[in-house]
Every structure is written in structure tokens, then in C-alpha cells.
């Protein structure tokens, strides 16, 4: 059997998901008996263009990136979105709240704002057809392995479609929402084995919303923690800003999520403003 050739690509991302794959290769070298990696900037210098499966990390945040995505789509038989940035838009899409000009001025300063191209962050599926997604920020290495196996068997990878609480209960964790800590587990797609609650941190929905997410009652639970409506909006949109925008008027938010001209919050990371 000839091994399918696979390639990894990155767009706007922190490369954490690719690193997870590199890490997986340390413990599961057998993966290389199944596939041949022809392109993987994170792990090798050679570059082959004859891949059949493309794993794409990162969101698309520039018009000029679209061309590169079209090329990948043209070459690959299968395109897999790797991680929250590629799958959902992820944290990158938080900037979509404001107009691009507003954001560019904030980040690069009045003089630098025209030097860098940018547009609203979006998941890969907003630009090209995506055949499968591996959720998470970063991805779960074992889920990656499982999905690769499914793809190789010619099966459509299936993600759990129930909330995180299922996995959390099976591990018999104490429920954070009953112990004074907000947790988005009830509205989040399972699959990470409830890793954050297991270590005592509330889930932030990096895997995206579960198909039946009950936002109304999730808000009610979060209000019980004393969170303001704005705090709740912010928690919902941390990884899922793009999804909430797509929901338009139906978005489970206390007020519209897009405010093109609102001032951006003050941050130590913003470029100094020239006077």
C-alpha cells in the first residue's frame, strides 16, 4: 500500500497545534508507517507539493492568504482544519468586534496602520471547503490520531456532539459550577476529556459549542456566579466570536457583538501612540 502524503500549513496561529503533532510523533512514531509527511515547516525543511491530505492550522486573516488556501484546496483530496483557529476562527476573531481600521491603528499606531494587510479573522471553512476539523486550543493529540485513522479508513470523522459535562462526570470531577467557578462545559462540544475542569479551571469552549447548546440557561448559571451580562458575553465569545457573529440577531448575547468604532480596551500590548 502506498502511504498517503500529508502536509501541514499554518496561517494566523500560535503554532501550538502543530507543536502538539510534533510532540505526538515522539511517542507514536508508528504514525509514519501510515502516512508520509511531505511538508511540515515545524518539523522539517524539505517541501513536497504532491500531498493528498492537507492539515491547516490557523485562521485566515488577510485577503492575500485566500490565494494560498485555494492552491491547497486544489492540490489536496482532503482538507482538515487543525485546531480552534482554523476550525472556529478562535481567539483571532475577537478583533472582529471592531472595524479593521480601528484595530490596525490600535496595534500599529497611526503611522504604521497602513503597512500591514489585515481583514476580519475567519475559520478556514469560510474560505474553502473543509472536509474535517480537529477542534481545540490546542488540539488533543489522541483525537488527532483518531481522526487521521478515520480519514485513512475513508470514514467521515465524527466529533462528539454532546456537552463536555459527560466526560467530566465520567471522571467523577467535582462540578466547578457548583463550587463557585464558572464553567462553560454544558454548552461546549466534548472530546478533550474535560481537561480544564479536571485541573480545576472552568471550560472556555475552545472546542466550539455543542449542537444543542442551551445558552439561555447557561447564562442563568453564570449569573449565579455574579457575572455581569457583559462578562458573560465575553466568555461566550472568547473562542467563538466568529460563530456568534454568524448567528446575527439570534446570537445569545446581551448586546450586539460588533462595535466598529468603539475604543479598544487599553492594553500593555498596544503600540505606543506617536504624538
Amino acid at each position: 500500500m502506498t502511504k498517503p502524503k500529508i502536509a501541514f500549513f499554518d496561517f494566523t496561529s500560535c503554532e501550538g497545534c502543530q507543536l502538539t503533532v510534533v510532540d505526538l510523533l515522539q511517542t507514536h512514531l508508528g504514525l509514519l508507517d501510515l502516512v508520509e509527511i511531505v511538508q511540515f515547516r515545524e518539523a522539517m525543511t524539505e517541501k513536497g507539493e504532491d500531498y493528498q491530505i492537507a492539515f491547516i492550522e490557523g485562521s485566515c486573516t488577510r485577503e492575500s492568504d485566500e490565494e494560498r488556501l485555494y492552491k491547497i484546496r486544489e492540490q489536496a483530496d482532503l482538507v482538515v482544519a487543525l485546531g480552534a483557529c482554523a476550525h472556529l476562527g478562535g481567539v483571532n476573531a475577537m478583533k472582529n468586534r471592531w472595524s479593521i481600521e480601528n484595530v490596525q491603528t490600535y496595534v500599529y499606531g497611526e503611522n504604521g496602520k497602513d503597512n500591514y494587510e489585515s481583514y476580519g479573522a475567519r475559520p478556514i471553512s469560510a474560505v474553502i471547503k473543509v472536509d474535517a476539523a480537529i477542534p481545540g486550543c490546542p488540539i488533543d493529540r489522541f483525537e488527532f490520531l483518531k481522526i487521521v485513522q478515520m480519514v485513512l479508513q475513508g470514514r467521515t470523522p465524527k466529533l462528539p456532539d454532546y456537552p463536555l459535562c459527560v466526560e467530566c462526570k465520567l471522571k467523577e470531577n467535582g462540578c466547578l459550577n457548583t463550587m463557585g467557578k464558572p464553567c462553560l462545559g454544558p454548552i461546549t462540544r466534548a472530546g478533550c476529556n474535560a481537561i480544564c475542569p479536571t485541573y480545576g479551571d472552568g471550560c472556555e469552549a475552545c472546542r466550539g459549542f455543542a449542537p444543542e447548546a442551551n445558552f439561555e440557561y447557561m447564562r442563568e448559571i453564570l449569573r449565579g456566579h455574579g457575572l455581569s451580562e457583559e462578562d458573560i458575553d465575553a466568555r461566550f465569545s472568547m473562542f467563538n466570536h466568529y460563530q456568534l457573529m454568524q448567528m446575527g440577531e439570534d446570537a445569545p448575547l446581551s448586546k450586539p457583538i460588533v462595535e466598529p468604532d468603539a475604543p479598544l480596551p487599553t492594553s500593555t500590548f498596544a503600540a505606543p501612540q506617536e504624538n
Partner: protein
């Protein structure tokens, strides 16, 4: 069978002696309360515990259990053949301490489902290798339980030993011969005398007033109330609140539904098949090939769970499907409870006549 006296000081010695030969599990303290877990030192055992998130069912039907391994080969014509190797994990002889009476009733139901009639070898193997040491509840574990309503406040016949806490000792009842042997082989105990038995009778009868009834109908009336209320408005209300998170079923000592999953090894020719807990509260549970879902709405799923607990299980297995442990109530973040549901259904079906 016979009653023995185990002084509270001797408990540690008993546990230690058992540890030489058995895996000993029981309620231990956690950050959030208690859980059944392995006991490495006798001091960890918290027999005076309130309740646990998961019931001891996890020792009989683990959250994930491998049923068999398979190897496949592909011949030159591309045909695949499988070789299947059933896995019977050696079940280490285990002693479970501190099983409350409600949870023992849960095990009674499990026995009906997995051992009597259809015999699930995996279950039977675990069950036969596990000693159950029950613990009598003298006060309610908390406000969520309603064992008195469900008739589970006394121990059913599933225990090997059953302990009732007295002032300075435990009264130990032997439920099976192997249980008696377990006790007598590992600790020196005396038979209870007449006055001890009288004292036990007093302790047991005086506990009843401490437990409150929470249901507006008896458990024998519940099935007909549920039949009557099948189309009640209440289900829509509950469906709207429900998060479809499955917590209520995962924590329930009588829920036994599982899903069967295959996992491939990295070589893509071998793998294993396991069963994992499943929940009727999840969307996919009643989804069948072709995309039809028998219970598409959350309202229909919440109703299905309550119907099972209060009616269907009794019809099929002869015992009520809810033992009143209160775990689903503690786990539900939107406060969907069995007593609340039954009582609200009763109110909807039997409205109070308007006062003139």
C-alpha cells in the same frame, strides 16, 4: 443471617487484614466531598460520608470496559478477515465498604438486568469477585435524597456484610456465607447477644422519623400518574431548561445504558471494542441510521428518563427504576429533579379545586 459485633477500634485492623488479599475500596474524602476510591490506609475510609458523585456501579459496569480485541488481515484479493479475542480482565477480588442502602437497591436492579435472565459475563465476573459491605443510613445524607419515598431505606439482599453504626461498635449482619467467612477470617468478633439485638432494633426503628417524604404520591401511584401525564405541559417546560448534559443519568445508580465503540491501533489492522456509558439525555442516543431521531426534542428525552425511573423499569424488571438517592438532583445545574417533576406533574394533572 447472623449478627456480630465489630468494635469501632477493630475496623482499622479488619481493613488492613483484608488489604493483604483484596482490593479494598470505599468512600474517601475529595476536594468536593466524597467518592468511592481505593483505600490504601484504613484511616482514609470515611464510613460516615454523605454521598458520592458516582455510585458504586462503576465497579460493576466501568465507565469504559474493553469487551474484545481484534486483529485483521487483508488477503491478496483485498478481503479482510478478523480474529476476535474476548477480553475478560482478571477482576481482582474486591471488597467495597460503605455502600448505602439506596445504592444496594441500585445493585439489585443491575443484577436483574445483567445477571438474571440475560447473563452478561463481564458483569457477572465483576459481581462475583466483589464483596459488598453495606452501611445503614441513620440520618438522611442531605435534602436531595428521598429514599423513604422510594422504599430503599432498608437494605435489600445483595450484601455480603451489612454494618449499622452503634455508639462504640458496628452491628454487622452477614448476608452471605462468603460474607460471614470474610468477617470471621479477618477479625475477631463476637456474636451479638440478645440485648445487642434489642438495641439494634431500637436504633433502626428510631431512624425513620428523621427521614422526610418528598413525593406527593406514593411510588405505587407514580406509574399511573406518569401514564396520565404523558402529554403534560410540564415536559416542555423542563425541556426548555435542560442542558442535555447527561449528568443525571451518568450519576444514577440505576442507569445502565451503554454504547459500543471500536478503536483502532496505530497500525490500523488491530483494535479493540469497548462499551462506554451512554445517556438517553443526549441527542444521538435515539438517532438511528437514516437520520431519524426517536426523541429529537429535549422535552421528550427528559420525559423518557422520568418515565423509565417511575414506570417502564418497574414494568420490565419488577422494581422501581429510581432508588431516591438524590444524585441527579445534586448534579443537575438547572434543578430538574425527580420529586419536583413528580409533584409538579401531580399538580398539573390534579389541580386544586378553586376555593369558592
Amino acid at each position: 443471617m447472623s449478627l456480630y459485633i465489630l468494635s469501632k477500634e477493630q475496623l482499622g485492623e479488619f481493613v488492613e487484614k483484608l488489604q493483604a488479599k483484596f482490593r479494598v475500596v470505599g468512600p474517601v474524602r475529595t476536594e468536593y466531598g466524597y467518592a468511592f476510591d481505593d483505600i490504601t490506609k484504613p484511616e482514609q475510609l470515611e464510613l460516615n460520608y454523605s454521598t458520592t458523585i458516582l455510585p458504586p456501579k462503576k465497579y460493576f459496569l466501568p465507565q469504559r470496559e474493553v469487551l474484545f480485541e481484534f486483529e485483521s488481515e487483508t488477503d491478496d484479493k483485498g478481503l479482510r478477515s478478523y480474529e476476535v479475542r474476548p477480553i475478560f480482565q482478571e477482576v481482582e477480588p474486591t471488597v467495597i465498604f460503605g455502600v448505602h442502602t439506596c445504592d444496594m437497591h441500585g445493585i439489585t436492579l443491575y443484577d436483574r438486568v445483567f445477571a438474571e435472565g440475560y447473563r452478561d459475563e463481564h458483569y457477572v465476573e465483576r459481581r462475583e469477585n466483589t464483596y459488598i459491605i453495606g452501611m445503614e443510613c441513620l440520618t438522611p445524607c442531605d435534602d436531595a435524597s428521598f429514599c423513604k419515598d422510594m422504599g430503599t431505606l432498608s437494605a435489600p439482599q445483595v450484601y455480603d456484610l451489612h454494618m449499622t453504626p452503634m455508639n462504640d461498635h458496628y452491628m454487622v449482619d452477614t448476608g452471605t456465607e462468603r460474607g460471614e467467612k470474610l468477617l470471621l477470617d479477618h477479625v475477631y468478633v463476637e456474636m451479638a447477644r440478645k440485648e445487642d439485638i434489642q438495641q439494634l432494633g431500637q436504633v433502626l426503628s428510631s431512624k425513620w422519623p428523621r427521614f422526610k417524604m418528598r413525593l406527593k404520591v406514593t411510588r405505587d401511584q407514580t406509574p399511573s400518574l406518569l401514564t396520565l401525564g404523558y402529554k403534560a405541559k410540564l415536559w416542555e417546560e423542563l425541556g426548555e431548561k435542560c442542558l442535555a448534559c447527561g449528568s443525571c443519568t451518568n450519576v444514577c445508580p440505576t442507569c445502565f445504558c451503554f454504547d459500543v465503540q471500536d478503536e483502532m491501533d496505530i497500525n490500523m489492522t488491530d483494535g479493540e471494542r469497548s462499551r462506554v456509558w451512554d445517556s438517553c439525555q443526549l441527542r444521538e442516543f435515539a438517532l438511528v441510521a437514516g437520520g431519524h431521531n426517536f426523541r429529537d426534542t429535549k422535552a421528550s428525552r427528559v420525559r423518557h428518563r422520568v418515565m423509565r425511573k417511575g414506570k417502564y423499569i418497574k414494568q420490565v424488571h419488577g422494581i422501581t427504576g429510581c432508588v431516591g438517592c438524590g444524585r441527579c438532583e445534586r448534579a443537575c445545574l438547572v434543578n430538574i429533579t425527580i420529586p419536583g417533576t413528580i409533584n409538579n406533574l401531580h399538580d398539573e394533572m390534579h389541580p386544586e379545586p378553586e376555593k369558592a
